[in-house]
Structure formats: C-alpha cells, structure tokens
C-alpha cells in the first residue's frame, strides 16, 4: 500500500536537506557547479536577486526549457521559484516534476493580497518569513518548509539575522505561554491557532527552517547555523563572487562545521572576491524585497 504527497512526505524532503546548502542557479551549467560543490539542492530562477535589483523589470518563473535542462543535468533535488500568489506557475512547476516550489518575494508578486493555497499542489512548498506570525500563516496555507526572507541580492546578512532572531523569540514566547494564552497570541500574530498548538507541542516550528537572504561568506552561513537554522540558501552570494566553485564548496563545508572556528578559518582562505554588498539603509523602501507578501 502506498500513499503519495502526504504532508509528512512533503515535510520529509525538507528534513533530508537539513545541514545542507541550497544554491540559486539560472542555468544547467551553474547547477552542475553547485552539485559538484556539494549543494544539497539547487534553486532555479530566471535571474539572481542581485541582477534583478540592477536590471529591474518583472521577474518571473524560469523558462520551461531551462528548468527541464537543469532537471536532466543534476541528480540532487531541483527547486524552482514561483511568484507570490501565482498558482498557475505553481501548477506548471508541479506538472514539470520540480521537487520543491519556492513561492518567493524575490520574483515580482502576482497577487497583492493572497499567497497560493499550497495544500492543493502535490509538490512541497518553501516560503519566506520575517517573523513568527508570517511563518505560521504560510504553514497554515500548506508550506512544508520555512526560510527567513533576509534581504536578497544585497550580500548583507543583517536582515536574515533580524528575521531569525524574531522567529526564535516568537517560538520561545509560544512555548513558554500556557494554553489559556495561545488564542490571544494567535490574535496578536494573526496566525492560525492550530499552528501555534503544534509549536507549543513540538517545542519548535513544525517544519524545517532555513536561513536565506544576504548570505555571502562561509562565516555568514555558520552565523545563521549558530543562530539555530536547519540549513542555508545562498542566492547571489555564489555566482556573483570572484570564484563561484571554491566559494560554493567553502560555504558547504562551513555549514556542516558551523561550530568549528578552525575549520571556518581553513575554508575561508583564498576564496577571491566576495560579492559586492549593499547597505540596507541605502535601499529605498520600494526596493526592499522582504516587504513583499504579508
């Protein structure tokens, strides 16, 4: 007897990615470099966030040909981004057999109010969140994995740190509250009550929680792991750096050995130029991707 696409199976793939690095790639060639460097999965998107910032325009799901080429090139799981609320892009990614869908604020949103109802799609979803309420709302809609939003394409880790700390604070507050306080917390966070119950029962988010948005160095990855993330996404940080293959490998090893400073020093040698960073304060409010979604 077999049952496909249960929530346990959706969540299960995320469990297998833990302790790993998921790398943004825009074509099969980059996907192969990522896989050879030890990526636990690759994330296909039309353009990396740093380029979306510079070039502007509408950022959409990758082309079907690119996705098919990436899927036939690597053996690790292939994730792909859909626009927030664009359930047809998600249906197409499901049809293509993509392993995980990222309903991502990095692409231009397709709906200003609603996220996708993720229960209706067989393929598991990962969603970004800036705080516990947002994470709970996405889980309520069916997300099988959460990541911090951070501020993608900046090479600046401060927002990811802020989001992770905020989520941890929220989780601790839920755990330490008594059952009588849960509904009032659900109201405060605008979050589904049942997800709060799950957090209280399990003592953590009911799904895997990765860091994303602004991670550019092995030290950034290790910082996020020490803050309690289950793994990391690296976007522009790899293919916008001087030596993508070496940097990718160093970030992978740093993620495994996040609590071992001597290993971190060793892998951080001779990596060439990191991507150029942006100060968050220099960004116009309209340029902040983390503000997309709610």
């Amino acid at each position: 007897m077999k049952v496909e696409s249960t929530f346990k199976i959706k969540k299960g793939l995320a469990e297998m990615l833990k302790g790993g690095v998921i790398m943004d790639v825009v074509n099969a060639e980059q996907a192969l470099i990522a896989e050879k460097s030890g990526a636990a999965a690759v994330m296909a998107l039309e353009r990396v966030p740093a380029d979306i910032r510079v070039e502007g325009g509408v950022a959409r799901m990758s082309s079907v040909e690119t996705l098919e080429e990436i899927m036939s090139t690597v053996s690790v799981p292939v994730m792909a981004k859909s626009r927030i609320g664009h359930f047809v892009e998600a249906q197409m990614l499901e049809e293509l057999g993509i392993d995980f869908i990222d309903e991502s604020e990095v692409l231009t949103p397709a709906d200003d109010k609603n996220h996708i109802n993720k229960h209706d799609i067989k393929t598991p979803f990962v969603n970004g969140a800036t705080n516990i309420g947002e994470a709970c709302r996405r889980i309520g809609e069916g997300a099988a994995m959460i990541r911090t939003k951070g501020e993608a394409g900046t090479g600046n880790v401060i927002e990811a740190v802020k989001h992770m700390r905020s989520m941890t604070e929220g989780i601790n507050r839920i755990i330490s509250s008594d059952k009588n306080q849960l509904m009032s917390l659900a109201k405060e966070y605008s979050a589904p009550f049942s997800v709060l119950e799950d957090i209280k029962k399990e003592g953590k988010l009911p799904v895997v929680n990765f860091a994303a948005g602004g991670i550019a160095t092995p030290a950034d990855a290790a910082l996020m792991m020490q803050l309690g993330c289950d793994g990391v996404f690296v976007g522009s940080g790899i293919f916008k750096s001087g030596d993508p293959a070496d940097r990718a490998e160093a970030i992978v090893i740093a993620t495994t050995n996040f609590d071992n400073p001597s290993k971190l020093v060793e892998v951080s040698k001779n990596l060439g130029e990191a991507m150029v960073g942006l100060n968050i304060d220099d960004l116009d409010e309209s340029e902040k991707l983390a503000k997309r979604g709610w």
Binding site: M16, G38, S75, F100
Partner: protein, 192 residues
Amino acid sequence: MATGILALQGSFNDHRKSLELLDKEYVLIKDNGDLKNIDSLILPGGESTSMIKIQEESELFDSLKKLINDGIPTLGTCAGLILLAKDVLDGSVSLGLLDCVVERNAYGRQNESFEGLVKFNNNSQMYCFIRAPKIISARHNVKNVAQLDDEIVGIQENNIVGLCFHPELTNDENYLNWLNNFIVEGNNVRSF
C-alpha cells in the same frame, strides 16, 4: 561506548532523537577525530553527493570503512544505504561494503515520494520513501529484512543493514525495538 551518527548533512538529528529515546549515548561524526569509542554506526538520509563531497578532503570515509569492516553494527537509511552499497547504478562513489546494486531516486522525483506499508521486524508499519533508492540486486549472502509489497526495501549482510526508507522520521515503537536490538544489544535482526 557511543553510537556514531554521520553528521555531514541530512537527517542526523532525527537519528539522534531515536538514540535519545533509547537512552543510548551518541556522537555526531564530522571528522576523524570524532571516531573514538564508537561501538556502532548510523549513516543518515540526506543527499549522498553532498556527503561524499564534504568528507572528501578529510578522508573520513576511509576511517568509516575500516570501522565497519571491523564488524560494528552499522545502519544506513536511504542516502546511508547508497553510501554502504557495493555498486551504485549511476557510478556514484560509495563505501562499497554491502553486497548489492542500488539505483538512486529509483521511484522518481519528489511528486512520486510516498508513505508505504512495510513489513519490517515482523510487523507492518507505514514508513516514508523520499526520492528513495531501490535495491536492484543483492548477492546470496545478503538477507532481506524489509519488504514493501513484492519489493525488497531493506537488506542485511552480517553487521551491515541498509534500508530504502526513513524509520528516523517516524521513530515508531516497531523501529525503536529493532534499533535497540541491533545497535544497543548488538543482536542480529530476524529475517522473514
């Protein structure tokens, strides 16, 4: 003495939970220095290509191979089975210890992942198969320990057990009993 859990990438914390439930000491293994006082070993689920890459420079796999050849009880789940197998169909690197041929992602991609009713340890229980490998063939010295319908999804050769599924995601009583018997007591598991 402790059970070593390979902790390069993957579901090693779920395996840690299994051992905590059994009150068995454990060590997370990231390099050769972590291999002292190990009396048994678990290779977790995850991405085998990623694990192979991470240990490459430390040559951790050579040390693991020696330990397993010395006869300590060793369990591999999913990617762990791939690492233990003598042959992997796509030519992937492995430790080459368990006399079988496995095929990676043989059931298909994530949309084809499933929960399946497995006969394991004389009980039937639902277990998770996630982009799971298949055991294509095994030599006569290898015995079957788990079955899904007509398919063999778990095998044992002496001290080595490889499972296609993820008992660490359920940590059910049936699995924990088996694990206690195999890893803690060091007894052989029963065949069908």
